[in-house]
């Protein structure tokens, strides 16, 4: 059977997220509780979490989380990694042995900074350098897969139900100001750890529910700009779209969200002239980046959290706020189980992306 990346696998899902916009810490047990409630939305073939603010002692270093299938793969990948980065720490990610999660690959993490000489010779800025190194490993080093590569954040994922994945990675020992979680219901997969979600690149992590019908239009758009969609997943292509729009084109989060979930023409035609001009330009220039079909997406980064929903509202996504915290989940019950009395609860609409900036983060554009 072909594994993820060799074949495109449609899947349904559950997603959840919590953010404390003032940077207050949230224990991993909370997000596990939220996603666990939506057990039926996944089928045990993939679960995962992304956590921001978990490595304050290494906050200026890239944290690489890597799956190794074999010792040889680890050796080859480490040779590459040590050549391209100055690695401070290399350690196994602590895990708990539990019955529900078996056949684990060897899971390592590394903290380090780019090798400045190599980076300078490559004439790339830091983000591009790291991205290309990650792409290189994932595309060419068989048996090694970098599934997390941001700063002061980490992605944890496995084949299993999300609550089991949380227990396996001992996420109750991590505190973060932003958590996202994912439970997967793939319709056809042998279950590969790399194929679980969130999908993460640099600081970006994406959890997503749905099967976008624009996938190949988006893939072929983004691959023009040096990205290689090796996973053939929606999350991968959406991550690249955000990365491209925000990092390469310098668009603010809101504008990037507008690109992916642009309003319908009938709406645009009714807008004030300035807004109309803005959306007409945006749709003309970025027609290939419009995301179509059912999706709800939560994009995490060190800047904050962005939740978007498809234009026809074909996928559920509920948001709630209380105090400094904002909650998101595929089902309202998954919010109420950890926040029984939110101040505000609403259904995220396709036309209105929700961006919750981290107020401890630097202003955008700086």
């Amino acid at each position: 059977m072909l594994r993820e990346g060799e074949v495109r696998i449609p899947s349904g899902c559950a997603i959840a997220a919590i953010i404390d916009k003032k940077g207050g810490m949230i224990n991993g047990a909370e997000i596990i509780k939220s996603i666990a409630l939506m057990h039926d939305r996944s089928n045990g073939l993939g679960g995962g979490f992304a956590a921001y603010g978990i490595y304050p002692e290494h906050k200026d270093e890239y944290a690489f989380h890597i799956f190794y299938d074999t010792a040889a793969a680890k050796e080859a990948c480490e040779e590459f990694l040590f050549k391209h980065f100055n690695i401070d720490v290399a350690e196994r990610i602590p895990t708990r042995k539990i019955a529900a999660i078996s056949k684990s690959p060897d899971i390592w993490r590394y903290f380090g900074k780019p090798n400045r000489v190599r980076m300078k010779n490559a004439r790339l800025d830091e983000g591009e350098y790291v991205m290309q190194c990650v792409t290189k490993v994932n595309a060419s080093y068989e048996g090694a897969y970098i599934f997390s590569s941001g700063k002061n954040m980490g992605c944890f994922k496995a084949v299993g139900y999300p609550e089991d994945v949380g227990e396996f990675y001992m996420l109750d020992t991590y505190n973060a100001y932003l958590w996202t979680a994912h439970g997967r219901f793939p319709t056809n997969t042998p279950g590969w750890w790399g194929g679980a979600h969130p999908f993460s690149l640099l600081d970006w992590s994406i959890v997503h529910n749905g099967e976008i019908s624009s996938y190949d239009a988006n893939r072929r758009y983004i691959e023009q700009f040096g990205y290689k969609c090796t996973m053939q997943t929606d999350t991968e292509v959406i991550t690249y779209l955000f990365d491209h729009l925000m990092r390469h084109h310098g668009l603010p989060t809101k504008v990037a969200a507008d690109v992916l979930t642009a309003p319908e023409w009938t709406e645009i035609d009714r807008m004030e002239p300035e807004k109309r001009e803005y959306f007409t330009r945006l749709r003309a220039i970025y027609s290939g980046a419009l995301v179509n079909g059912p999706f709800s997406v939560i994009l995490g980064s060190n800047k904050g959290l962005l939740a978007i929903n498809d234009r026809l509202k074909l996928r559920s996504l509920t948001a709630a706020t209380k105090g400094n915290r904002a909650y998101f989940a595929s089902e309202e019950s998954a919010i109420r189980i950890i926040c029984p009395e939110p101040e505000k609860v609403w259904s995220v609409s396709g036309a209105d992306p929700v961006f919750v900036p981290l107020e401890i983060a630097q202003e955008e554009g700086e």
């Binding site: 190949d216 023009q224 084109h249 023409w265 001009e277 220039i285 995301v291």
Partner: protein, 501 residues
């Protein structure tokens, strides 16, 4: 009497039980096949000049007529098919190049018929276009690499000129001269009402079409007929015609008999003179020359008109398209070898060029490899027979499709392939006033609009089935296509998987 050597192609069959001798067929046949005999008491027919245009069949009030293939067997010979023998006889008679109208009738592979579309089941929902918005609005023109915005997200700078179409279907170039003014006016009216474009070909712009200039594509072709400042300014888009799918590598020839006073004025050539378009543009011998012409045209119009370059689909089409994009073309039109024509040498029409499906796939892939696909618009031309062909073309990577034969059929064309004779019984490919008046623009624009409305509906249905509600998400979405009965190589060029994969 000289020997004819070539048997007639058709028989005209008259049901004498039904024929009321009204003589409609006699008066309507410009090939003079039907005639009154016995002092007007009966109507007879001599089918030797019949082209199977069906004018008589369709107008006969009692349905008394039908056209049949005339059977006159030759000794069987798989190599020397009757067609070749007949063409030899014709050339032995005339000593001339064989001419044909419309697209090639040869049975080359039609890849549209070898690709199948996808639909949603379970994992994502299909969309009902009658209940949900379904967008087919298409924007043509050069796009900046990225949106420039200030910190607040307000757009900065100027956008290059864009053309907003309400359908991905535009009407291809057919000049006044090759088709009648009434036919061109019908297309112009339909383009205006549909929110799309018609194309003047290289025949200049007749003053009667002044109400439709916002919907006109004006061509600058190798003959430069009718090109002047007002012509360029009275257009939505300017198209440099390098080549035509039906006759790549050669120019055009409008015989002097068709150059009446109206045509002569529109083309700015003397009445009765042959209008000969050279094979190349004699100021474009290479890509850098094309760049100069593109910039000259933009300068002449203060940069307000997008400039398109239309090329025929030939073997290295991908590289040529890339070159055109880099030479400054905002829009590139590729015309496949099944595309139509008013007149082309038969040998060229039937043997030169490649199918649009392969050319489009290769060109789109090449522009993406170079990272510039999103900056230009790609138009596909060269025979779209139905809305499914259009959907497949867009999924392969086209922004919009040039259609000509389909609207002509809507106006009465029966593909008799004798456009070059100038005796079109339907008033389309003729300048004879007694024939052109048969095409009433008030009727025909409605028929063309009906056709495009129908296709738009069908496109929306197919998109909805795929779970796509914007044509932007169909464009280049090759996962929505699967090949059927195609070789590995063909699949590779088309960039699609085989059905079942």
């Amino acid at each position: 009497m000289s020997v004819n050597y070539i048997p007639r192609r058709f028989d005209i069959v008259r049901d004498n039980e039904r024929c009321v001798q009204c003589g409609c067929c006699v008066r309507q046949c410009s090939n003079e096949c039907h005639y009154f005999a016995e002092g007007g008491k009966i109507v007879l027919a001599d089918a030797s000049a019949c082209v199977a245009c069906h004018r008589c069949v369709d107008l006969c009030p009692t349905s008394a007529l039908s056209i049949q293939k005339h059977v006159c067997d030759y000794r069987e010979n798989a190599n020397w098919a009757p067609q070749y023998q007949q063409e030899i006889c014709r050339q032995a008679q005339t000593g001339g190049v064989l001419l044909s109208g419309m697209g090639t009738p040869k049975p080359y592979p039609i890849y549209w018929d070898k690709m199948l579309l996808n639909a949603s089941q379970v994992t994502n929902p299909s969309i009902d276009p009658l209940r949900e918005p379904m967008e087919i609005r298409t924007i043509l023109g050069r796009k900046p690499r990225q949106l420039e915005v200030d910190a607040a997200g307000n757009p900065l700078g100027e956008m290059p000129p864009q053309i907003i179409l309400e359908t991905p279907i535009i009407f291809s170039a057919m000049s006044f001269g090759s088709i009648s003014l009434n036919a061109q006016k019908s297309l112009a009216m339909a383009a205006k009402n549909l929110g799309t474009l018609f194309n003047t070909g290289e025949g200049g712009l007749h003053p009667d079409l002044s109400d439709y200039t916002d919907y006109a594509v004006v061509q600058v072709a190798s003959g430069r007929f009718g090109v002047h400042k007002d012509y360029l300014e009275n257009a939505r888009m300017i198209e440099i015609k390098i080549g035509q799918g039906a006759k790549p590598g050669i120019g055009g020839h409008l015989p002097g008999e068709k150059v009446n006073v109206e045509v002569s004025n529109a083309r700015m050539i003397p009445e009765g003179s042959d209008a000969i378009s050279p094979a190349p543009h004699h100021d474009i011998y290479s890509i850098e020359d094309l760049r100069q012409l593109i910039w000259s045209l933009k300068q002449a119009t203060q940069g307000k008109k997008p400039v398109s370059v239309k090329i025929a689909a030939v073997h290295n089409v991908a590289a040529i398209v890339s070159g055109c994009a880099r030479a400054g073309a905002d829009i590139i039109a590729i015309d496949g070898f099944r595309g139509g024509t008013g007149a082309a040498p038969t040998r060229i029409r039937d043997n030169v060029g490649i199918p649009i499906e392969l050319a489009l796939a290769a060109a789109d892939a090449r522009l993406r490899d170079e990272g510039i696909r999103s900056e230009v618009s790609l138009l596909a031309a060269g025979s779209f027979r139905c809305s499914a062909d259009i959907v497949k073309a867009i999924a392969l990577g086209a922004d919009a499709c040039y259609c000509a034969s389909a609207p002509l059929i809507a106006m009465g064309c029966h593909m008799c392939q004798t456009c070059h004779t100038g005796k079109c019984n339907w008033g389309i490919a003729t300048q004879r006033p007694e024939l052109t008046k048969r095409l009433n623009p008030d009727i025909m624009h409605e028929r063309v609009e009906n056709l495009i409305h129908a296709w738009n509906h069908e496109i929306k249905e197919m998109m909805g089935g795929m779970g796509i509600n914007s044509i932007d998400s169909l464009r280049g979405n090759r996962l929505m296509l699967r090949g059927i009965g195609l070789s590995e190589k063909e699949l590779q060029i088309l960039g699609i998987k085989h059905a079942g994969e």
